[in-house]
Structure formats: structure tokens, C-alpha cells
């Protein structure tokens, strides 16, 4: 009995060790963000800030126009989400449910573009957008989303493939138009997948760094990741303010996660299946 109990508790040990690895950085982040510099530079490290300086958050809000960056990020992110939510179900449907010659071969191109790194295409795109005058606008950041991101097309296609063909056929026999079938039969059935696409594109767009770094040169247009990175740019690092600023950048994601946990998990699960 007791041996069994010990065995039961033993199973928690690796979980706790890994849990500490994943979770302690968050605690340390919060702890540091509330400290004064005398406590930050101390041996051994102190966990509980004394005094607790909530003012660090206020200061980091003031040090850089954080609210503005937050609004900018919400702008780019919502456009990106909108783009993917419109484009991915459409394009995914064309590859997953509509029948046309050469479809699966063309889909290989989609898969290939998924593997094309941004670094490879960065220079000509920068040069092109700079000629068109799209630098310092959000167009380069959200346009790819409206034109369909390979990863989300792939995700949607997987979902459509799992839908039974009979449902669509039944509608066709009833004489429904193809567009009606798409909007009224297919889309409602893949709603969970669309939510997943929305969430993932939210996370990607929110955390994107290299895109804003290259395309947004004026600080009034910066996103939160970019603002955070430039926080360190002057002389040296103010850890308390940086940690407070980081916390501000993370919090929206965490809130979103707690409300929509199920979809995050489902999305990750579906994205792992080989095409």
C-alpha cells in the first residue's frame, strides 16, 4: 500500500522538475519586474521584492509609447487574423474538397512554399516594397495573410479531407450552388479549424519580429515586439523595466490562452499530422 503510494508520488518528480523549468522564468520575470535596482543586483537572488515597485510598470509605459505600440500590434494582428480567416478556408477548400485536374500536384507547391524561409525572400521583397512605397505601412505585414499562408492552407485542407463527401454531394443533388455549399455546408463544419487558424495567426502576428524590424522604420508605427527590442538599444539594460515591459507584451497572449485553451491544443494537434 505505502509502496504503491510512494510509486504514485514518484511519478510527479520528473513532472515537477520540468514544470519548474517551464514555470520559474515566469515567476522570476514578475519578481524582477517589481524590484528596485538594489534588489536586482543582489547576492543571493531575492524572490520577494521589498518594497514592491508597481511603479516599474508605469515607468515602462512612459519610457516608450507602449500604448501606441500595443494599438499598432492590435491593428496588424487583427488584419492578419482577418486575412487568414478569409483566405485559408477558401484556398484550403479548393485543395481539399473541390475537384480539378492536377490538384494534388499543385498542392505539393503549397507544401514547398511552406519550406521557403523568409530570409531567402527578404531582400527582393524589401527592395520591391521600398519602390512601391509600402515601407512604414502595415501592408507587407498583413498582405501575405490575405493571399493565403501555406501553413494554414495545409491545416484547413486536412480538416476538409476528414469531412464525409456525402454531405456535399447531398447538397449538390438538391441543386445548391457550389458557393452556397462552401458557405453553408463546408464552412460551418470546419468552424473549429477556422478558430484554430485565427488563434495561430494571432500568435504569429503578435510575436513576429523580423517583419516589423525590416518594414517599419518609423517608431510611431512600431509593434510591441519591435518596441521591446529597441528598449535595450540605448546604453545598457534596465532589467526591472525590461521585465515589466516584457510582462506587458506577454499578458494578452496568456489571457487569450486561458479562454481558448481547447482550440490552442486542437490546433497544435492537427498541425502535426503529415500531409
Amino acid at each position: 500500500m505505502s509502496k504503491r503510494k510512494i510509486k504514485f508520488y514518484l511519478r510527479y518528480i520528473p513532472l515537477l522538475i520540468l514544470g519548474a523549468f517551464y514555470f520559474i522564468p515566469f515567476l522570476w520575470l514578475i519578481s524582477t519586474s517589481l524590484k528596485g535596482s538594489d534588489q536586482i543586483f543582489s547576492h543571493p537572488p531575492k524572490w520577494i521584492p521589498n518594497p514592491v515597485l508597481f511603479g516599474n510598470y508605469k515607468e515602462s509605459f512612459e519610457a516608450i509609447p507602449y500604448l501606441k505600440y500595443l494599438l499598432n500590434t492590435i491593428k496588424t494582428t487583427s488584419l492578419a487574423v482577418l486575412g487568414n480567416v478569409i483566405s485559408a478556408p477558401m484556398i484550403g477548400y479548393a485543395f481539399g474538397k473541390l475537384k480539378w485536374p492536377g490538384r494534388d500536384k499543385v498542392f505539393l507547391i503549397v507544401m514547398a512554399t511552406m519550406m521557403l524561409p523568409f530570409t531567402v525572400t527578404m531582400i527582393p521583397l524589401y527592395s520591391l516594397f521600398s519602390k512601391i512605397g509600402w515601407i512604414n505601412t502595415y501592408v507587407p505585414l498583413f498582405l501575405p495573410d490575405f493571399l493565403g499562408k501555406a501553413y494554414f492552407i495545409f491545416l484547413m485542407r486536412q480538416f476538409y479531407l476528414s469531412l464525409p463527401e456525402e454531405l456535399l454531394e447531398a447538397a449538390r443533388i438538391d441543386g445548391a450552388s457550389e458557393l452556397w455549399i462552401y458557405l453553408k455546408v463546408a464552412v460551418p463544419l470546419v468552424k473549429p479549424a477556422i478558430v484554430t487558424v485565427a488563434l495561430f495567426s494571432f500568435v504569429w502576428s503578435w510575436t513576429d519580429f523580423m517583419g516589423p524590424l525590416i518594414y517599419l522604420t518609423k517608431s510611431e508605427k512600431w509593434t510591441i515586439s519591435l518596441g521591446l527590442s529597441q528598449f535595450t538599444n540605448s546604453y545598457g539594460v534596465d532589467w526591472a523595466l525590461l521585465m515589466a515591459a516584457s510582462a506587458i507584451a506577454i499578458i494578452p497572449m496568456v489571457i487569450l490562452f486561458f479562454f481558448l485553451q481547447k482550440y490552442f491544443m486542437e490546433g497544435s494537434i492537427n498541425s502535426g499530422i503529415k500531409g
Binding site: F41, F129, S130, K184, T217, N233, Y235
Partner: protein, 456 residues
């Protein structure tokens, strides 16, 4: 039928979103050209004056300062904007050079940029900057009134691209209390500084440093400063040779290396990792963690703002090697340039602004507020400046001695600095000897110099 209607309305809504976002971006790019309300409001620190008159020509001015230094500039810009009704200058503060560099080719970038002297030649080489010779002549600017060696830094291949605006000169700041504790005088030579540094070392129980005398590469200027203090040069324009393998250069790097090797590079690196923010009371010099710091003319303002009460300090001319006392005063001079971007649509009006900024009254106002050295003799020698900013006196005397040197105006300055940094790292960690590392540096840089010379 109802369904179809709904479908169409959804599609239309999607189209609408497209067009809205499309318009949004178009609107933005127009704004930057004509400078309407939203743009001015979006500019941090910008005045609302532009909102009254949309016909003013907008000149975008990007610079790298932030905080109180940016405020000092904004004050003179505001004066200018109020003084006439033709031009509205919009300032963007705390830009990095990478950002400016990517913005200029896009056409939606700055008209005026403020950059470091080493950047000017590089950008001129790349075609990023507009020549300003004609404007200088047109305005009848007396070039002999401009500090010559800094003015030359704005010159590339015989064409002037930069108007000097700031000039940093350096002094050795020391912690007076610690020197008294060590019964030491302020150092006269670099060797003396090394000796005092040895005595100044403090460690904690676990053997970590808690105080060092001089810490190399802190704050940042040593890479260029040290070679000059040993009489070395970076580049010889006569023979078009990179001169990083000269004996003086080797001596300088060897001297700097001692601050790592004598104390243990790992221990020093660890010590440095604990330094707090430079522009704050956590600055290691104010914390008593370092005894010596080579700092520029702005530093006294910093001491006033951030040092603890009763902090005792002194400043002397940066010492040179004891073997070459004649070098005294020959440290680094760093210039800051105002340049006009090659893609500026209003280059002539932009130069008006530059001309205003370097005219005595505005110049002195700015320099006194920022704690900065002007680059025109008329402003440098004016009593007005010294009376407004007495802390600049020592620095002004030092630059008027005309011994300090600036980094040469070569287009591979970034490569030089990065390469030198890597060479030094290899030396400190014992991967390479001084001779090897500097020879490798030469082998890397000389082809760039050859290409530059032969390419023209």
C-alpha cells in the same frame, strides 16, 4: 435566395475590409509627404503648429538621441518652426542607424539625418546622401569657421556630404574618494593608471570582483581611443594602407589586453555583466564599481542627474603612454554629422534647416542645453556658451588645442570596427597573439581599401 444574399453581403464586407485597409495605408503615405494633422500628432514631441497650415513644406529630421538630449534639440527646432511659415520640421527621435539606412531608399524616410562621423563616408559611398557643396556655397558659409578635422569627416571623395553638428571629446573621470583611499594621485600616464587599477581591486567572499580600476570597453570608446593614445593610426591616406599592424597599434592592443589577462577574462566579463544602465544611478562609475571611466562632455550632466549625493569625482586629460608624452591630448575626437538624404524631395529647404541649426544663436542654445560641443569656432569661442554651460570649459580648451583625432573617413568603418572587435576578443581569450590577430585583421580590411581606391 436569402442565403445567396447573405453570401454576397459577406463577400462585400470582405471587399470593403480590403479597400479600407488599402486606403488606410495610402492615406498614411500621403500624410508623410504633405504633413497633415495625424502625422504631426503622431510625432513624439512634435508641435501642433503644422495642423494649422497644410501648405508648409515638411522636413523630416531623424536623429539618434533620446530623453533630455532629444528635448534639447526639439527646443531649437520649435524655435525654427515658429520663426517662419514656410517649413515645418518634424523630428523623429531615438532612431538607430540601421533604421535610417533602410528608410532612405524607400523614399519615405528622413530629409535630414544626424549620424556618427564614421557613418557619413560609408553612406556617401552607398549613394544614400546628397552632396551639399552647392548649398554651402550658395549660403556663403565660411568654411574656415568650421572645425577643420571634423569638417573633413563629412567629405568623401572630394565631395562634402556632412555638416558637422556635434563633436565629442573625452576626459578621464575618476572616483576621488577611492583615489584618496588608495593614497594615489590622478594618473599622468596610462601605465600609472594600470598601477592604480591593480591597487583598486576589491573582491567578495566568493572571489568575484566588486571593484576594478579601469575596465576596458566600458562604456564603449576604447576601440578607437586606445590606439590614438599610443600614437597609432587606423588608415594611411597617402599609401592607402590599413595601418592596424603598426607597432603603436600593437602596443595599444597589448596594453588593453592586460586589463583582461591580468585579471582573468572570465572574471572581468562576469563583473561587467553586472553593470546597470549607463544613464541611471546604476552606472558602475556612480556605484563605485569602477574607479576610472573615459567619458565625454555630456558626462557632467549625467553626474548631476544620477550620481549619489556627496559623490566625489575629478576629471583630467586622458593620459597617454609614458614613452610618448608628446601625444598628450591626442585622444579621440568623435563628430556627429547633419546630412541630407539622397531621396529627399526638399533638399534645399532641408539645408536651410541645417544652416539654421549651425548658426551661432541656435547652436549655442542647443549645445548649452545638451552639454555638447559646437563645431564652429565662433560658437566654440563664444563666452555665451561657457557662461551657460561652464562644465564644457575643459573640453572646449581640449578641442581648441587641435590634437585629438577622429576615425578616418573610410567607407568600411563598420567592417573595421567589427573586425577589430573580433580580433581583440581573439587576443583576450588567448586564441591568437596580438601579431596574428592584427595581421588577420589587415588581411581582411586591406582588400576593402584596395577595392575602394581602385573602384574610383
Amino acid at each position: 435566395m436569402k442565403m445567396l444574399k447573405k453570401a454576397i453581403s459577406i463577400a462585400m464586407a470582405a471587399c470593403l475590409m480590403f479597400s479600407i485597409t488599402g486606403c488606410g495605408s495610402k492615406e498614411n503615405s500621403e500624410n508623410t509627404e504633405t504633413g497633415t494633422e495625424s502625422d504631426a500628432a503622431a510625432t513624439p514631441g512634435g508641435t501642433s503648429a503644422s495642423a494649422e497650415n497644410g501648405k508648409k513644406t515638411v522636413i523630416n529630421f531623424w536623429h539618434t538621441w533620446s530623453g533630455s538630449e532629444a528635448d534639447a534639440l526639439q527646443a531649437v527646432i520649435d524655435d525654427y518652426n515658429n520663426s517662419q511659415s514656410d517649413v515645418q520640421v518634424e523630428v523623429l527621435a531615438s532612431q538607430t542607424e540601421d533604421k535610417m539606412l533602410t528608410a532612405i531608399p524607400s523614399g519615405d524616410g528622413p530629409d535630414i539625418v544626424y549620424t556618427a562621423d564614421t557613418t557619413c563616408s560609408k553612406w556617401a559611398d552607398a549613394g544614400m546622401l546628397a552632396p551639399i557643396d552647392d548649398y554651402i556655397a550658395g549660403k556663403g558659409i565660411d568654411v574656415s569657421n568650421i572645425y577643420e578635422s571634423v569638417y573633413k569627416l563629412g567629405n568623401y571623395d572630394g565631395v562634402q556630404y556632412g555638416m558637422p553638428y556635434t563633436m565629442d571629446s573625452y576626459m578621464l573621470f575618476y572616483n576621488k574618494a577611492v583615489l584618496e583611499e588608495l593614497k594615489a594621485e590622478s594618473p599622468k600616464t596610462l601605465e600609472e593608471m594600470a598601477d592604480i587599477s591593480k591597487k583598486a581591486v576589491l573582491k567578495d567572499d566568493s572571489g568575484d570582483y566588486t571593484r576594478l580600476g579601469y575596465v576596458p570597453d566600458y562604456p564603449w570608446i576604447d576601440r578607437v581611443e586606445m590606439p590614438y593614445l599610443f600614437g597609432a593610426e587606423f588608415y594611411d591616406f597617402g599609401t592607402n594602407q590599413v595601418t592596424c599592424t603598426s607597432q603603436e597599434f600593437k602596443d595599444a592592443i597589448s596594453y588593453k589586453a592586460l586589463y583582461y589577462t591580468d585579471y582573468g577574462i572570465d572574471a572581468v566579463t562576469k563583473f561587467k555583466s553586472g553593470f546597470g544602465t549607463y544613464a541611471s544611478s546604476d552606472n558602475p562609475f556612480f556605484q563605485g564599481k569602477v574607479v576610472f571611466a573615459i567619458e565625454g562632455e555630456w558626462f557632467e550632466n549625467f553626474i548631476d542627474q544620477y550620481a549619489p549625493d556627496g559623490f566625489e569625482w575629478g576629471a583630467v586629460e586622458v593620459p597617454v603612454t609614458e614613452n610618448k608624452p608628446e601625444l598628450a591630448g591626442s585622444g579621440r575626437l568623435q563628430g556627429g554629422m547633419l546630412s541630407i538624404s539622397a531621396t529627399s524631395k526638399n533638399a534645399e529647404k532641408a539645408f536651410e534647416v541645417v544652416n539654421y541649426l549651425t548658426s551661432d544663436e541656435a547652436y549655442i542654445k542647443f549645445c548649452a542645453a545638451k552639454g555638447s560641443l559646437p563645431t564652429t569656432y565662433s560658437a566654440l569661442k563664444s563666452e555665451e556658451l561657457v557662461s551657460q554651460a561652464p562644465q564644457l570649459k575643459g573640453f572646449i580648451d581640449s578641442v581648441l588645442a587641435e590634437k585629438a583625432k577622429a576615425f578616418p573617413a573610410v567607407p568600411f568603418s563598420s567592417e573595421y570596427s567589427d573586425g577589430q572587435g573580433l580580433a581583440e576578443e581573439a587576443i583576450y581569450s588567448g586564441d591568437k597573439t596580438v601579431d596574428e590577430a592584427l595581421q588577420d585583421l589587415y588581411d581582411e580590411l586591406q582588400p576593402l581599401a584596395d577595392k575602394w581606391v581602385n573602384g574610383n
